[in-house]
Symmetry: C2
Subunit: 249 residues, 2 copies
């Protein structure tokens, strides 16, 4: 792990890092030392580790709960090099969408291509962050990700037993049904009632498929990008309930 | 308004009252004086003003937010006299249900019969409680009610402009669609995914019909009576967001 920058703002320390060739960001309480729960945030499609969606969750998680929060760039985004195959598939999907054509198999292929690299990247990142004395190896781990962050999150949470609670949603991919069924940890699942990209029936089927005994669907009116801000507060409460809180914030 | 008893426990003052021939309960902070937001709680079918569902909400609302909380017995329940027509309809519904027969028009008739008395009772209760100096006339008013308390709540919230936020749910009656469409205040709407009494599709149609710009559906697995306890905390946050909080708790 190589730290490339460290800054402090509003009581939150932000460290940018490279783990191998994966760039990431870690937010922790500026005044904090010692182990604490960790929340991984998966960014949305076309976004990156420091996008608004990520930072707007990371800061309240650190400040309200004393958590460590980490995000990494998905392949081909942020500070990662261009990824020709991902770029080809994104252009195919965007072109077909713009032409009003069905995107066909390009979309699952894109998701699969990103996931085949990003899931191992997340696991390596988690291995490394847990060696830090201000994160720790025996602390609970949560995951937050909507849209493409939900698409990847369902795969990651299904594969990664260290993650014990997750906020997921804005995704209804039918190819995720089996992975969803393998998830047994508590989940808060976010749905936008008028989401054209992830139609409500498909999102509800994926919610239904989750193997978790505790799972809550939160549905709000509006389109894909209009998740109400009070859902951030709700996710704080959800993680506090399942991961506990830490001092030092 | 005639007070019939007053007790204090855990920092909460409970006053039992009669307003005309309607028996009710009012919970306020024991140490509190001055006006405060008021939450009305509508009890479920076959329950009464001091049932567990009511009290388990009333106490956190008073203790966390400093609210006044009130509940009244629906016609034919609690300390109210038997109501022959309601009793006849309840027996008809129960008999048909036990026999595995469709309940037919008995159910909407029962709801209508209860509502024709209960909605005016609630409005008279609200008029009277707002004259108390420890409730006040210019404070926000919320309503909480699931199941039969949701059935009645949709009618009450649609009819009563003083109510500015409501937690409703566990109801999917198709005859409530028009009333739901008249509701424009923020709503948290509770659904149980495996509810046989209020099937999820019918509950979602009613959620969809709500005229509110801010409305959130909270769906959890399990049957009608298995709403998770963390939804109480969620309702505290919902009311705090929309009604504000008061001192004196």
């Amino acid at each position: 792990m190589h730290l490339t920058s460290e800054t402090v703002a509003d009581g939150v320390r932000e460290q940018l890092f490279m783990i191998g060739d994966v760039p990431g960001a870690l937010w922790t309480p500026a005044a904090g030392s010692g182990p604490r729960p960790l929340v991984l945030i998966g960014h949305g499609g076309g976004q990156h580790k420091k996008g608004w969606e990520v930072v707007s969750r990371a800061f309240p998680y650190v400040r309200s709960c004393g958590y460590a929060v980490a995000a990494i760039d998905a392949p081909g985004t942020g500070d990662r090099p261009e990824h020709p195959e991902i770029q080809r598939l994104v252009e195919l999907v965007d072109g077909r969408t713009a032409a009003g054509e069905p995107v066909g198999s390009a979309w699952p292929e894109l998701c699969e291509t990103v996931a085949s690299q990003l899931i191992p990247d997340w696991q390596t990142t988690l291995d490394t962050l847990q060696t830090l004395d201000y994160v720790g190896a025996d602390q609970p781990v949560g995951y937050y990700g909507l849209s493409q962050g939900g698409e990847m999150g369902i795969r990651l949470v299904a594969a990664e037993p260290r993650i014990t609670a997750a906020v997921l949603g804005l995704v209804g991919s039918e190819w995720l049904t089996e992975a969803a069924a393998r998830i047994t940890v508590p989940v808060e699942f976010v749905l936008q009632w008028d989401d054209e990209g992830a139609p409500r029936d498909s999102v509800m089927r994926l919610f239904d498929a989750l193997g978790s005994a505790e799972k809550t669907l939160h549905a709000n009116p509006g389109s894909h990008f209009r998740v109400p801000l009070f859902e951030i507060d709700s996710s704080v409460r959800f993680f506090a309930r399942h991961l506990g809180t830490a001092g030092g914030s």
